[in-house]
Amino acid sequence: MNRNYIFLTILMLVLATGTLFVNKTIKLKQVEPQQLLMEIVQPTRYVNTDLVAKMIIQNDPSLELIDVRSANEFGKFSLTNAINIPLDSLINESSLDYFGIPGTKVVFISNDDIEADQAWVLTKRLGFNSIYVMKGGLNRWMETIIQPQKPSDDSPLTAFETYEFRNGARLYFTGAKIDNEETGKVKVVVRRKKKSAAASGGC
């Protein structure tokens, strides 16, 4: 009788000791590297400036613009309702609250698209979804929305349609700037994620 109990005791001890070896490193909740690489090589994360402009004009409540430039640059110019999170402070606890809010699309903005893309990769590694990068960044924003180029006469019809839209958008973002400034300033909606989606329970 005692032999079996001794065997059981040893078995349980071995099992418990085994846990020490399997959980050596503290794991963070992250996307597996291979999965991340698969997501990286797909260009689906890029949105063009026209789409962003349209969403801003339509006051799309799901749009959340994250500007990863420095606070200094952000202070000089920013898009309507954009939130400034400099790339250096992106992975801070307080900054990460802006991501993963259900029903929002986060769009990263920088001068070009490189820094925004870097922010995207870092955020994606942490497992956040619905995040995008504005292709071309603010440089292209200026080239397309604020100073649109008239397409040449032999361009397809869609090019003219885009041009017309951009002209309208330019009026909205520059001509209507004065009106917009007040509403824009007041309406800094700070949305933050509610903590912990863990299962509730208790006795």
Partner: protein, 239 residues
């Protein structure tokens, strides 16, 4: 540690009880004698764990640097491969370098940097390519990734740095920059291929109230004039 006083108390309690309980001898219960079913149950548990060990998929790649470090990786100047360095490589001055073209096969066929190998972005996750990178890392060979533009190679480059391939670098400016300036790569300076700097004075352009009348042609001209005016701003990102 909390158990200890409890147990001593228990033993005291038991010995104290002896004086209260003075009855006959009774042995253990039958059901406590033989734990063979316990053994079976625990074995089932162990089988589950073994199944877990066997079915657990071993990742091909593992993060070697945490978030903070990967942030700092971005700023390291030696993580980037400038067109000037590329020029040296092309002029046979630096041979310990392998160029990987991550554009697709078709685009690669239309034109590429001389000496580059083609591994398209979709193939990067393949095991043989990862093995190749590991071999190159052991040889101390620098691997330079480039895509159509710098953006295309940015993601793969960041990931490879994060999983510990610190020999992987990114070609600044990408293929487009190379093809535009391939004859005078050596005399270009950092400001030419540096990304991440504003090319316009955003605030000025965007707030002009009278520019509704501005002809788009002149505006476009103007943008050429404003170009590279803002060199002074130190870009936050290293490359």
């Amino acid at each position: 540690m909390k158990i200890l006083p409890k147990d001593t108390f228990l033993i005291l309690c038991v010995f104290g009880l002896d004086s209260f309980i003075t009855r006959k001898i009774q042995k253990m219960h039958v059901h406590e004698l033989n734990p063979w079913r316990t053994l079976i149950a625990l074995s089932v548990f162990i089988v589950i764990l073994i199944v877990g060990f066997l079915t657990m998929h071993k990742p091909l790649l593992k993060y070697e640097v945490d978030m903070k470090q990967s942030m700092e990786e971005l700023k390291k100047p030696d993580a980037c491969f400038s067109p000037v360095e590329l020029n040296e490589f092309l002029n046979k001055k630096n041979q310990n370098v392998v160029l990987f073209d991550i554009r697709d096969n078709f685009t690669f066929g239309q034109g590429h940097i001389p000496g580059a190998e083609n591994i398209s972005a979709n193939e990067l996750t393949q095991e043989k390519n990862i093995k190749r990178l590991e071999d190159l890392k052991e040889n101390g060979t620098t691997v330079v990734l480039y895509g159509e533009d710098q953006l295309q190679a940015n993601g793969p480059w960041m990931l490879f740095r994060q999983v510990g391939f610190d020999n992987v670098k990114i070609l600044l400016g990408g293929y487009q920059y190379y093809i535009q300036h391939k004859d005078n790569l050596a005399d270009k300076t950092e400001s030419d291929f540096k990304k991440g700097v504003p090319r316009y004075n955003f605030a000025e352009i965007a707030s002009r109230n009278n520019n509704t009348q501005v002809n788009s042609e002149t505006a476009a001209k103007k943008s050429v004039v404003v170009r590279r005016k803002k060199k002074a701003v130190a870009a936050a990102g290293g490359c």
